[in-house]
Protein backbone atom coordinates (compact mmCIF):
# COMPACT_ATOMS: atom_id res chain seq x y z
CA UNK A 1 0.00 0.00 0.00
CA UNK A 2 2.05 2.97 -1.21
CA UNK A 3 1.72 6.12 0.84
CA UNK A 4 2.56 9.58 -0.48
CA UNK A 5 6.00 9.57 1.00
CA UNK A 6 7.22 6.46 -0.74
CA UNK A 7 5.73 7.72 -3.99
CA UNK A 8 7.82 10.88 -4.01
CA UNK A 9 10.81 8.77 -3.15
CA UNK A 10 10.45 6.46 -6.13
CA UNK A 11 13.58 6.69 -8.25
CA UNK A 12 13.53 8.84 -11.39
CA UNK A 13 17.09 8.15 -12.25
CA UNK A 14 18.71 4.86 -11.68
CA UNK A 15 22.28 3.89 -12.39
CA UNK A 16 22.70 0.17 -12.27
CA UNK A 17 26.11 -1.38 -12.42
CA UNK A 18 27.56 1.47 -14.51
CA UNK A 19 31.22 1.36 -15.46
CA UNK A 20 32.99 3.88 -17.64
CA UNK A 21 36.55 4.24 -18.84
CA UNK A 22 37.74 7.52 -20.37
CA UNK A 23 41.17 8.01 -21.85
CA UNK A 24 42.33 4.70 -20.40
CA UNK A 25 41.28 5.63 -16.87
CA UNK A 26 38.43 4.02 -15.00
CA UNK A 27 36.20 6.93 -13.99
CA UNK A 28 33.18 5.01 -12.71
CA UNK A 29 33.27 1.43 -11.55
CA UNK A 30 30.13 -0.65 -11.06
CA UNK A 31 28.29 2.39 -9.79
CA UNK A 32 24.76 1.99 -8.41
CA UNK A 33 22.69 5.03 -7.60
CA UNK A 34 18.97 5.80 -7.38
CA UNK A 35 17.90 9.43 -7.39
CA UNK A 36 14.34 10.04 -6.17
CA UNK A 37 11.76 12.08 -8.04
CA UNK A 38 10.66 15.56 -7.11
CA UNK A 39 13.60 16.29 -4.85
CA UNK A 40 16.89 18.10 -4.95
CA UNK A 41 19.83 15.76 -4.87
CA UNK A 42 23.34 17.12 -4.46
CA UNK A 43 26.26 15.31 -5.97
CA UNK A 44 29.54 16.01 -4.27
CA UNK A 45 32.99 14.68 -4.60
CA UNK A 46 36.56 15.74 -5.13
CA UNK A 47 37.60 17.38 -8.34
CA UNK A 48 37.94 14.88 -11.14
CA UNK A 49 35.83 12.30 -9.33
CA UNK A 50 33.47 12.07 -12.28
CA UNK A 51 30.59 14.34 -11.27
CA UNK A 52 30.34 16.03 -14.67
CA UNK A 53 30.76 12.61 -16.22
CA UNK A 54 27.78 11.39 -14.22
CA UNK A 55 25.64 14.23 -15.59
CA UNK A 56 26.81 13.49 -19.14
CA UNK A 57 25.60 9.93 -18.69
CA UNK A 58 22.16 11.23 -17.69
CA UNK A 59 21.98 13.56 -20.70
CA UNK A 60 23.02 10.77 -23.04
CA UNK A 61 26.20 12.56 -24.18
CA UNK A 62 28.20 9.62 -22.91
CA UNK A 63 27.31 5.97 -22.95
CA UNK A 64 28.48 3.64 -20.19
CA UNK A 65 30.76 0.75 -21.10
CA UNK A 66 28.56 -1.58 -19.10
CA UNK A 67 25.37 -1.16 -17.11
CA UNK A 68 22.31 0.97 -17.70
CA UNK A 69 21.19 4.50 -16.96
CA UNK A 70 17.42 4.57 -16.47
CA UNK A 71 15.46 7.83 -16.45
CA UNK A 72 11.76 7.40 -15.72
CA UNK A 73 12.15 3.76 -16.64
CA UNK A 74 13.74 4.23 -20.07
CA UNK A 75 17.36 3.40 -20.65
CA UNK A 76 18.99 6.61 -21.89
CA UNK A 77 21.99 4.80 -23.28
CA UNK A 78 19.78 2.73 -25.59
CA UNK A 79 17.72 5.57 -27.08
CA UNK A 80 17.76 6.23 -30.82
CA UNK A 81 19.01 9.70 -31.82
CA UNK A 82 15.45 10.80 -32.44
CA UNK A 83 14.15 9.52 -29.13
CA UNK A 84 17.14 11.09 -27.43
CA UNK A 85 16.13 14.45 -28.87
CA UNK A 86 12.59 14.28 -27.56
CA UNK A 87 13.93 13.10 -24.20
CA UNK A 88 16.22 16.12 -24.07
CA UNK A 89 13.34 18.52 -24.60
CA UNK A 90 12.22 17.69 -21.05
CA UNK A 91 15.69 18.25 -19.72
CA UNK A 92 17.21 21.46 -18.42
CA UNK A 93 20.99 21.49 -18.22
CA UNK A 94 23.27 24.13 -16.79
CA UNK A 95 26.76 23.36 -18.07
CA UNK A 96 29.80 23.98 -15.92
CA UNK A 97 30.75 27.21 -17.71
CA UNK A 98 27.30 28.35 -18.76
CA UNK A 99 27.92 27.89 -22.50
CA UNK A 100 25.80 30.84 -23.60
CA UNK A 101 25.74 31.58 -27.33
CA UNK A 102 28.09 34.49 -27.66
CA UNK A 103 26.51 35.88 -30.81
CA UNK A 104 23.09 36.18 -29.21
CA UNK A 105 21.90 38.60 -26.54
CA UNK A 106 20.82 37.28 -23.15
CA UNK A 107 17.22 37.65 -24.25
CA UNK A 108 17.76 35.64 -27.44
CA UNK A 109 19.73 33.02 -25.54
CA UNK A 110 16.81 32.35 -23.23
CA UNK A 111 14.30 32.64 -26.07
CA UNK A 112 16.14 30.18 -28.31
CA UNK A 113 14.67 26.91 -26.97
CA UNK A 114 11.20 28.46 -26.86
CA UNK A 115 11.40 29.66 -30.45
CA UNK A 116 12.82 26.35 -31.55
CA UNK A 117 10.43 23.98 -29.83
CA UNK A 118 7.17 25.85 -29.41
CA UNK A 119 4.84 27.80 -31.66
CA UNK A 120 4.15 30.45 -29.07
CA UNK A 121 3.56 33.98 -30.35
CA UNK A 122 6.52 36.31 -29.97
CA UNK A 123 4.67 38.45 -27.41
CA UNK A 124 4.20 35.47 -25.13
CA UNK A 125 7.81 34.38 -25.62
CA UNK A 126 8.88 37.85 -24.60
CA UNK A 127 6.89 37.59 -21.39
CA UNK A 128 8.27 34.17 -20.55
CA UNK A 129 11.85 35.20 -21.25
CA UNK A 130 11.64 38.37 -19.20
CA UNK A 131 10.04 36.42 -16.39
CA UNK A 132 12.83 33.86 -16.41
CA UNK A 133 15.46 36.59 -16.52
CA UNK A 134 13.67 38.38 -13.71
CA UNK A 135 13.88 35.33 -11.47
CA UNK A 136 17.67 35.32 -11.84
CA UNK A 137 17.74 39.09 -11.32
CA UNK A 138 18.95 39.96 -14.83
CA UNK A 139 15.84 41.28 -16.56
CA UNK A 140 17.66 44.58 -17.00
CA UNK A 141 20.50 42.84 -18.83
CA UNK A 142 18.25 41.26 -21.45
CA UNK A 143 19.68 43.31 -24.32
CA UNK A 144 23.32 42.69 -23.40
CA UNK A 145 25.65 40.16 -24.96
CA UNK A 146 27.25 37.46 -22.78
CA UNK A 147 30.69 39.04 -23.10
CA UNK A 148 29.32 42.22 -21.53
CA UNK A 149 28.44 40.31 -18.36
CA UNK A 150 30.57 38.85 -15.60
CA UNK A 151 31.15 35.12 -15.32
CA UNK A 152 28.66 34.78 -12.49
CA UNK A 153 26.00 36.73 -14.38
CA UNK A 154 26.59 34.53 -17.41
CA UNK A 155 25.88 31.51 -15.31
CA UNK A 156 22.66 33.03 -14.03
CA UNK A 157 21.51 33.73 -17.57
CA UNK A 158 22.41 30.16 -18.45
CA UNK A 159 20.28 29.05 -15.53
CA UNK A 160 17.35 31.06 -16.88
CA UNK A 161 17.89 29.46 -20.29
CA UNK A 162 17.96 25.97 -18.80
CA UNK A 163 14.64 26.64 -17.08
CA UNK A 164 13.01 28.27 -20.10
CA UNK A 165 11.09 25.18 -21.15
CA UNK A 166 9.98 24.29 -17.60
CA UNK A 167 11.73 20.93 -17.76
CA UNK A 168 10.87 17.93 -15.59
CA UNK A 169 14.48 17.26 -14.80
CA UNK A 170 17.08 19.92 -14.11
CA UNK A 171 20.79 19.22 -14.00
CA UNK A 172 23.09 21.89 -12.60
CA UNK A 173 26.84 21.52 -12.95
CA UNK A 174 28.40 23.69 -10.23
CA UNK A 175 25.85 26.51 -10.34
CA UNK A 176 27.52 28.39 -7.48
CA UNK A 177 31.11 28.52 -8.61
CA UNK A 178 32.10 32.14 -9.13
CA UNK A 179 29.00 33.62 -7.51
CA UNK A 180 29.15 36.23 -4.77
CA UNK A 181 27.39 35.34 -1.50
CA UNK A 182 24.26 37.30 -2.41
CA UNK A 183 23.75 35.75 -5.85
CA UNK A 184 24.69 32.43 -4.38
CA UNK A 185 21.93 32.72 -1.80
CA UNK A 186 19.47 33.80 -4.50
CA UNK A 187 20.45 30.97 -6.85
CA UNK A 188 20.25 28.51 -4.02
CA UNK A 189 16.74 29.53 -3.06
CA UNK A 190 15.78 29.70 -6.71
CA UNK A 191 16.79 26.12 -7.35
CA UNK A 192 14.84 24.98 -4.35
CA UNK A 193 11.78 27.10 -5.21
CA UNK A 194 11.63 26.07 -8.83
CA UNK A 195 11.97 22.50 -7.78
CA UNK A 196 9.02 22.75 -5.44
CA UNK A 197 6.85 24.94 -7.64
CA UNK A 198 7.16 22.79 -10.73
CA UNK A 199 7.55 19.46 -9.01
CA UNK A 200 10.68 18.75 -10.99
CA UNK A 201 13.63 16.65 -10.06
CA UNK A 202 16.90 18.53 -9.60
CA UNK A 203 20.44 17.29 -9.50
CA UNK A 204 23.05 19.77 -8.37
CA UNK A 205 26.76 19.13 -8.64
CA UNK A 206 28.62 21.19 -6.11
CA UNK A 207 31.72 21.24 -3.95
CA UNK A 208 30.17 23.38 -1.29
CA UNK A 209 29.51 21.29 1.79
CA UNK A 210 27.66 24.04 3.66
CA UNK A 211 25.31 25.15 0.91
CA UNK A 212 24.19 21.58 0.43
CA UNK A 213 22.52 21.64 3.82
CA UNK A 214 20.16 24.42 2.78
CA UNK A 215 19.67 23.14 -0.72
CA UNK A 216 19.37 19.43 -1.01
CA UNK A 217 17.03 16.78 0.31
CA UNK A 218 19.88 14.33 0.07
CA UNK A 219 23.50 14.36 -0.90
CA UNK A 220 25.58 11.82 -2.66
CA UNK A 221 29.35 11.72 -2.48
CA UNK A 222 31.29 9.96 -5.17
CA UNK A 223 34.98 9.18 -5.04
CA UNK A 224 37.21 6.61 -6.65
CA UNK A 225 34.45 5.59 -9.03
CA UNK A 226 31.94 4.64 -6.34
CA UNK A 227 29.14 6.19 -4.38
CA UNK A 228 30.63 6.40 -0.92
CA UNK A 229 27.70 8.04 0.81
CA UNK A 230 24.07 8.74 0.02
CA UNK A 231 22.06 10.36 2.78
CA UNK A 232 20.33 13.59 3.84
CA UNK A 233 23.04 16.23 4.26
CA UNK A 234 22.45 16.59 8.01
CA UNK A 235 23.36 12.99 8.66
CA UNK A 236 26.44 13.03 6.43
CA UNK A 237 28.36 14.97 9.06
CA UNK A 238 27.99 12.05 11.44
CA UNK A 239 28.88 9.39 8.90
CA UNK A 240 31.66 7.28 10.38
CA UNK A 241 33.08 6.40 6.97
CA UNK A 242 36.63 7.86 6.81
CA UNK A 243 36.24 8.88 3.17
CA UNK A 244 33.18 10.95 4.02
CA UNK A 245 34.84 12.50 7.02
CA UNK A 246 37.82 13.47 4.94
CA UNK A 247 35.60 15.14 2.37
CA UNK A 248 33.30 16.88 4.84
CA UNK A 249 36.22 18.28 6.81
CA UNK A 250 38.39 19.05 3.85
CA UNK A 251 41.45 17.06 4.89
CA UNK A 252 44.17 16.72 2.28
CA UNK A 253 45.23 13.22 3.21
CA UNK A 254 43.05 10.23 3.64
CA UNK A 255 41.41 7.55 1.60
CA UNK A 256 40.73 10.03 -1.24
CA UNK A 257 43.92 10.90 -3.02
CA UNK A 258 44.41 14.62 -3.48
CA UNK A 259 47.11 13.90 -6.05
CA UNK A 260 46.31 12.74 -9.55
CA UNK A 261 47.70 9.19 -9.90
CA UNK A 262 51.27 9.12 -11.17
CA UNK A 263 54.74 7.87 -10.37
CA UNK A 264 55.75 8.02 -6.73
CA UNK A 265 57.37 11.15 -5.37
CA UNK A 266 60.72 9.42 -5.16
CA UNK A 267 60.55 8.32 -8.78
CA UNK A 268 59.83 11.86 -10.00
CA UNK A 269 62.13 13.90 -7.82
CA UNK A 270 65.03 11.74 -6.74
CA UNK A 271 65.66 10.32 -10.20
CA UNK A 272 65.10 13.71 -11.76
CA UNK A 273 68.71 13.89 -12.98
CA UNK A 274 68.09 10.92 -15.25
CA UNK A 275 65.82 12.94 -17.54
Amino acid sequence: MPDTHSQTAQPTIQFSDVSLTLGGRKILEKLDLAIPQGQVTAIMGPSGAGKTTLLRLITGQLKPDTGRVLVNGTAVNELSPKALNSYRKQLGVLLQNGALFTDLTCFDNVALPLREHTNLPESLIKNIVLLKLHTVGLRGAAHLYPRELSGGMNRRVAMARAMAMDPQLMLYDEPFAGLDPISMGISLRLIRQVNEALGMTSIVVTHDVHEVRQLAHQACIIANGHVIAFAPPETLQEDPEPLVQQFMQGLPDGPVAFHYPGPSLEADFLDGDQH
Binding site: Q61, S86, R88, L100, F101, L112, E116
Partner: protein, 246 residues
Protein backbone atom coordinates in the same frame (compact mmCIF):
# COMPACT_ATOMS: atom_id res chain seq x y z
CA UNK B 1 49.99 8.76 -45.58
CA UNK B 2 47.33 7.08 -43.46
CA UNK B 3 46.44 10.20 -41.52
CA UNK B 4 45.41 12.51 -44.39
CA UNK B 5 43.37 9.65 -45.84
CA UNK B 6 41.67 9.09 -42.52
CA UNK B 7 40.99 12.80 -42.22
CA UNK B 8 39.49 12.82 -45.71
CA UNK B 9 37.25 9.92 -44.80
CA UNK B 10 36.07 11.73 -41.70
CA UNK B 11 35.39 14.89 -43.67
CA UNK B 12 33.28 12.91 -46.14
CA UNK B 13 31.32 11.23 -43.35
CA UNK B 14 30.76 14.63 -41.77
CA UNK B 15 29.49 16.07 -45.03
CA UNK B 16 27.22 13.09 -45.49
CA UNK B 17 25.71 13.70 -42.06
CA UNK B 18 25.28 17.39 -42.69
CA UNK B 19 23.52 16.80 -45.99
CA UNK B 20 21.42 13.84 -44.90
CA UNK B 21 20.07 15.88 -42.00
CA UNK B 22 19.10 18.71 -44.32
CA UNK B 23 15.37 19.21 -44.46
CA UNK B 24 13.68 21.83 -46.54
CA UNK B 25 11.43 22.81 -43.65
CA UNK B 26 14.31 23.58 -41.37
CA UNK B 27 16.50 25.64 -43.69
CA UNK B 28 17.55 28.75 -41.83
CA UNK B 29 17.12 31.48 -44.40
CA UNK B 30 17.81 34.35 -42.04
CA UNK B 31 20.90 32.68 -40.63
CA UNK B 32 22.12 31.77 -44.13
CA UNK B 33 21.78 35.38 -45.19
CA UNK B 34 23.73 36.44 -42.12
CA UNK B 35 26.47 34.00 -43.03
CA UNK B 36 26.52 35.33 -46.58
CA UNK B 37 27.17 38.70 -45.02
CA UNK B 38 30.00 37.41 -42.81
CA UNK B 39 31.63 35.19 -45.43
CA UNK B 40 30.82 37.18 -48.55
CA UNK B 41 30.19 40.85 -47.98
CA UNK B 42 33.00 41.11 -45.45
CA UNK B 43 35.46 39.57 -47.93
CA UNK B 44 34.70 42.27 -50.49
CA UNK B 45 37.59 44.56 -49.62
CA UNK B 46 40.26 41.92 -50.12
CA UNK B 47 38.59 40.53 -53.23
CA UNK B 48 38.16 43.94 -54.84
CA UNK B 49 41.74 45.07 -54.20
CA UNK B 50 43.34 41.77 -55.12
CA UNK B 51 41.17 41.48 -58.23
CA UNK B 52 42.12 44.94 -59.45
CA UNK B 53 45.84 44.40 -58.98
CA UNK B 54 45.82 40.93 -60.48
CA UNK B 55 44.15 42.39 -63.58
CA UNK B 56 46.66 45.20 -63.68
CA UNK B 57 49.76 43.06 -63.42
CA UNK B 58 48.41 40.36 -65.70
CA UNK B 59 47.77 42.91 -68.46
CA UNK B 60 51.17 44.44 -67.94
CA UNK B 61 52.87 41.08 -68.33
CA UNK B 62 50.84 39.90 -71.31
CA UNK B 63 51.31 43.19 -73.13
CA UNK B 64 55.02 42.95 -72.59
CA UNK B 65 55.16 39.36 -73.82
CA UNK B 66 52.70 39.62 -76.69
CA UNK B 67 54.25 42.78 -78.10
CA UNK B 68 57.36 40.74 -78.84
CA UNK B 69 55.26 38.55 -81.15
CA UNK B 70 53.31 41.41 -82.62
CA UNK B 71 50.15 40.16 -81.01
CA UNK B 72 49.44 42.85 -78.42
CA UNK B 73 45.84 42.87 -79.62
CA UNK B 74 45.33 39.54 -77.94
CA UNK B 75 46.19 40.90 -74.48
CA UNK B 76 42.58 41.45 -73.50
CA UNK B 77 41.68 37.97 -74.69
CA UNK B 78 44.48 36.41 -72.69
CA UNK B 79 43.40 38.41 -69.65
CA UNK B 80 39.74 37.45 -69.90
CA UNK B 81 40.36 33.81 -70.68
CA UNK B 82 42.87 33.25 -67.91
CA UNK B 83 40.63 35.10 -65.46
CA UNK B 84 37.39 33.43 -66.31
CA UNK B 85 38.77 29.96 -66.62
CA UNK B 86 41.46 29.75 -63.97
CA UNK B 87 42.67 32.71 -61.99
CA UNK B 88 39.33 34.11 -60.92
CA UNK B 89 37.93 30.95 -59.35
CA UNK B 90 41.23 29.65 -57.96
CA UNK B 91 42.53 32.88 -56.45
CA UNK B 92 39.16 33.82 -55.04
CA UNK B 93 38.72 30.43 -53.41
CA UNK B 94 42.15 30.65 -51.80
CA UNK B 95 41.57 34.23 -50.64
CA UNK B 96 38.19 33.15 -49.32
CA UNK B 97 39.81 30.37 -47.33
CA UNK B 98 42.17 32.88 -45.76
CA UNK B 99 39.58 35.53 -45.07
CA UNK B 100 36.30 33.74 -44.37
CA UNK B 101 37.23 30.06 -44.05
CA UNK B 102 39.53 30.70 -41.13
CA UNK B 103 36.93 32.68 -39.25
CA UNK B 104 34.31 30.00 -39.82
CA UNK B 105 36.72 27.38 -38.49
CA UNK B 106 37.71 29.45 -35.50
CA UNK B 107 34.12 30.31 -34.71
CA UNK B 108 32.91 26.72 -34.76
CA UNK B 109 36.04 25.50 -33.00
CA UNK B 110 35.47 27.99 -30.19
CA UNK B 111 31.84 26.97 -30.01
CA UNK B 112 33.09 23.44 -29.49
CA UNK B 113 35.65 24.58 -26.90
CA UNK B 114 33.12 26.65 -24.93
CA UNK B 115 30.57 23.83 -25.05
CA UNK B 116 28.10 25.88 -27.13
CA UNK B 117 27.69 22.95 -29.49
CA UNK B 118 27.02 20.66 -26.51
CA UNK B 119 24.50 23.17 -25.19
CA UNK B 120 22.65 23.09 -28.51
CA UNK B 121 22.64 19.31 -28.46
CA UNK B 122 21.30 19.34 -24.92
CA UNK B 123 18.49 21.68 -25.94
CA UNK B 124 17.55 19.17 -28.63
CA UNK B 125 18.56 21.68 -31.29
CA UNK B 126 20.61 20.02 -34.02
CA UNK B 127 23.89 21.94 -34.36
CA UNK B 128 24.23 20.55 -37.89
CA UNK B 129 21.01 22.29 -38.78
CA UNK B 130 21.71 25.53 -36.96
CA UNK B 131 25.45 25.98 -37.35
CA UNK B 132 26.76 23.82 -40.18
CA UNK B 133 24.12 23.99 -42.89
CA UNK B 134 23.76 27.79 -43.11
CA UNK B 135 27.53 28.13 -43.45
CA UNK B 136 27.76 25.46 -46.13
CA UNK B 137 25.03 27.06 -48.19
CA UNK B 138 26.45 30.52 -47.62
CA UNK B 139 29.84 29.39 -48.97
CA UNK B 140 28.15 27.85 -51.96
CA UNK B 141 26.57 31.21 -52.78
CA UNK B 142 29.22 33.65 -51.57
CA UNK B 143 32.22 32.22 -53.43
CA UNK B 144 30.71 32.36 -56.95
CA UNK B 145 29.51 35.87 -56.16
CA UNK B 146 33.00 36.85 -55.07
CA UNK B 147 34.50 35.23 -58.16
CA UNK B 148 32.29 37.32 -60.41
CA UNK B 149 33.26 40.47 -58.56
CA UNK B 150 36.93 39.47 -58.66
CA UNK B 151 36.77 38.94 -62.43
CA UNK B 152 34.97 42.20 -62.91
CA UNK B 153 37.58 44.10 -60.92
CA UNK B 154 40.43 42.35 -62.71
CA UNK B 155 38.99 43.34 -66.09
CA UNK B 156 38.68 46.90 -64.86
CA UNK B 157 42.31 46.70 -63.77
CA UNK B 158 43.22 45.45 -67.22
CA UNK B 159 41.26 48.20 -68.94
CA UNK B 160 42.84 50.74 -66.64
CA UNK B 161 46.32 49.59 -67.64
CA UNK B 162 45.55 49.24 -71.34
CA UNK B 163 43.84 52.58 -71.64
CA UNK B 164 45.62 54.86 -69.20
CA UNK B 165 49.11 53.39 -69.22
CA UNK B 166 49.40 51.98 -72.73
CA UNK B 167 47.08 54.51 -74.32
CA UNK B 168 45.00 51.89 -76.14
CA UNK B 169 41.48 52.37 -77.36
CA UNK B 170 39.04 50.93 -74.79
CA UNK B 171 36.65 49.82 -77.52
CA UNK B 172 39.26 47.65 -79.22
CA UNK B 173 40.22 46.21 -75.84
CA UNK B 174 36.63 45.10 -75.19
CA UNK B 175 36.04 44.21 -78.82
CA UNK B 176 38.95 41.78 -79.05
CA UNK B 177 37.80 40.19 -75.83
CA UNK B 178 34.25 39.81 -77.01
CA UNK B 179 35.35 38.14 -80.21
CA UNK B 180 37.20 35.33 -78.56
CA UNK B 181 35.61 34.71 -75.16
CA UNK B 182 32.68 32.36 -75.29
CA UNK B 183 29.82 32.59 -72.85
CA UNK B 184 29.36 28.87 -72.34
CA UNK B 185 32.79 27.40 -72.81
CA UNK B 186 34.74 30.03 -70.95
CA UNK B 187 32.55 32.16 -68.76
CA UNK B 188 29.94 29.70 -67.52
CA UNK B 189 32.45 26.90 -67.04
CA UNK B 190 34.45 29.22 -64.83
CA UNK B 191 31.32 29.97 -62.88
CA UNK B 192 30.60 26.26 -62.52
CA UNK B 193 34.08 25.76 -61.15
CA UNK B 194 33.62 28.54 -58.64
CA UNK B 195 30.47 26.91 -57.28
CA UNK B 196 32.48 23.73 -56.74
CA UNK B 197 35.27 25.68 -55.05
CA UNK B 198 32.81 27.54 -52.84
CA UNK B 199 31.32 24.31 -51.65
CA UNK B 200 34.76 22.83 -51.04
CA UNK B 201 36.01 25.86 -49.12
CA UNK B 202 32.93 26.07 -46.92
CA UNK B 203 32.89 22.34 -46.32
CA UNK B 204 36.54 22.22 -45.21
CA UNK B 205 36.19 25.32 -43.04
CA UNK B 206 33.16 23.93 -41.26
CA UNK B 207 34.65 20.46 -40.96
CA UNK B 208 37.92 21.57 -39.39
CA UNK B 209 36.05 23.78 -36.94
CA UNK B 210 33.69 20.99 -36.07
CA UNK B 211 36.43 18.46 -35.46
CA UNK B 212 38.79 20.87 -33.69
CA UNK B 213 40.15 19.80 -30.33
CA UNK B 214 38.40 21.78 -27.62
CA UNK B 215 41.52 23.76 -26.69
CA UNK B 216 43.20 26.93 -27.91
CA UNK B 217 45.90 24.92 -29.71
CA UNK B 218 43.20 22.76 -31.22
CA UNK B 219 41.43 25.77 -32.68
CA UNK B 220 44.70 27.32 -33.87
CA UNK B 221 45.70 24.10 -35.60
CA UNK B 222 42.28 23.72 -37.20
CA UNK B 223 42.49 27.23 -38.63
CA UNK B 224 45.83 26.50 -40.24
CA UNK B 225 44.56 23.20 -41.59
CA UNK B 226 41.62 24.96 -43.20
CA UNK B 227 43.87 27.20 -45.26
CA UNK B 228 46.27 24.45 -46.28
CA UNK B 229 43.62 21.89 -47.08
CA UNK B 230 41.51 24.36 -49.04
CA UNK B 231 44.45 25.61 -51.08
CA UNK B 232 45.59 22.11 -51.99
CA UNK B 233 42.19 20.67 -52.71
CA UNK B 234 41.10 23.69 -54.75
CA UNK B 235 44.13 23.26 -56.98
CA UNK B 236 43.54 19.53 -57.35
CA UNK B 237 39.84 19.98 -58.03
CA UNK B 238 40.73 22.71 -60.51
CA UNK B 239 42.86 20.32 -62.49
CA UNK B 240 40.17 17.64 -62.44
CA UNK B 241 37.41 20.02 -63.47
CA UNK B 242 39.55 21.60 -66.20
CA UNK B 243 40.37 18.18 -67.60
CA UNK B 244 36.67 17.31 -67.71
CA UNK B 245 35.50 20.59 -69.14
CA UNK B 246 38.00 21.06 -71.94
Amino acid sequence: MIKPLQEMGKAVVFLGQAISRMRLTSLQFGETLRQIYYAGARSLVIIVTCGFFVGLVLTLQTYDTLTRFGAADAASTVLALSLFRELGPVLTAILFAGRAGTSITAEIGLMRATEQLDALDLMAIDPMERIVQPRLIAGLIAVPALVIIFNMMALLGGVFFAVFVMGNDPMSFWGNMQNSVELGRDFLHGLGKSIGFGFLAAWLAVYFGWSAKATSEGVALATTQTVIATAISVLVLDFVLSAFML
